[in-house]
């Protein structure tokens, strides 16, 4: 385990949203849907998170539509999947330990 953990909610859900190629508005909508409207990502937050994850190699630029507008799509990388998996392991530990409270 390293400094990547715990992931912020934004990073966690963005990684989930780019398990298939996805772009800005699509990511925001998918996260809204997955969280039933609870987590609304601001475009600035998303922009910063995506740039930082691209530079860390967690996600890659999948395609760029050069025709009309440059709609950039992003996709999770193997490193990103690894980071995500580690985070899920940590969350599972939290949930399983939380049962002791019952």
């Amino acid at each position: 385990m390293d400094k990547n953990s715990p992931l912020t909610e934004a990073l966690f859900y963005i990684l989930l949203a780019v398990r298939k190629p996805n772009y800005g508005y699509g990511i925001i909508q998918d996260v809204l849907e997955m969280t039933k409207g609870r987590l609304s990502l601001g475009p600035g937050t998303l922009y910063g998170a995506i740039n930082s994850m691209v530079s860390k190699g967690w996600i890659t630029l999948y395609s760029e539509d050069k025709e009309s507008r440059k709609k950039k799509e992003y996709l999770i990388s193997d490193t990103g999947r690894q980071v995500f998996k580690e985070e899920v392991k940590r969350l599972e530990e939290l949930v399983s330990n939380s049962k002791q409270m019952e």
């Binding site: 800005g24 508005y25 925001i28 601001g42 475009p43 600035g44 937050t45 507008r69």
Partner: protein
């Protein structure tokens, strides 16, 4: 309609633009303190202001991304960017978590720190001139530069205060 205003605090500036939009004036351009407005339905837009991450003010990547995310980049002045979204399309906040808000205020603080250093150097040079020369118009410049330096210092201090508040909330 055009209005002249000098803002250094982007939060106050944002509030003012949103207030104007509520009254039916949609901001559409900024140049050297002159804000241009066009008529709109009262409360049609929500505005946000942001500072670009690069020192040469290149907004192409940022703008494309914002448009892909469903918001409109209205105007740019060097690294400062004015963004809006139709109120009918929901609430509009550029930054929705503590980490990214801290990153934004850190960017703004660093921007004004550089401005502060430059102003402070100008102030000291002007002060030296004034002491050697003594002409009253040079002293006027000294006072003016001193005032600008203090204003920048205030903004840097305010950003630091906000960053501290946000860190406490996380």
């Amino acid at each position: 309609m055009k209005k002249f205003k000098l803002y250094l605090d982007k939060d106050e500036e944002e509030n003012w633009l949103n207030e104007m939009a509520k009254r039916g004036f949609a901001f559409n351009n900024f140049f050297l303190g002159i804000y241009s407005f066009e008529p709109c339905k009262p409360g049609e837009y929500n505005y946000q202001i942001d500072l670009l991450d690069n020192w040469h003010g290149d907004k192409s990547d940022f703008s494309c991304f914002m448009e892909d995310s469903g918001v409109e980049v209205v105007s740019q002045w060097y690294r400062w960017i004015f963004i809006r979204k139709k109120a009918s399309e929901g609430a509009f906040q550029m930054y929705t978590d503590g980490e990214s808000k801290i990153a934004q205020y850190t960017r703004i603080r660093n921007f004004f720190t550089v401005a502060l250093i430059i102003e402070a150097i100008c102030f000291l040079i002007e002060l030296t001139c004034a002491v050697q020369n003594g002409a009253s118009f040079i002293w006027t410049f000294v006072a003016l530069l001193g005032l600008i330096t203090l204003t920048f210092l205030r903004i840097v201090w305010k950003c630091n205060w906000k960053i501290k508040q946000l860190k406490n909330e996380i």
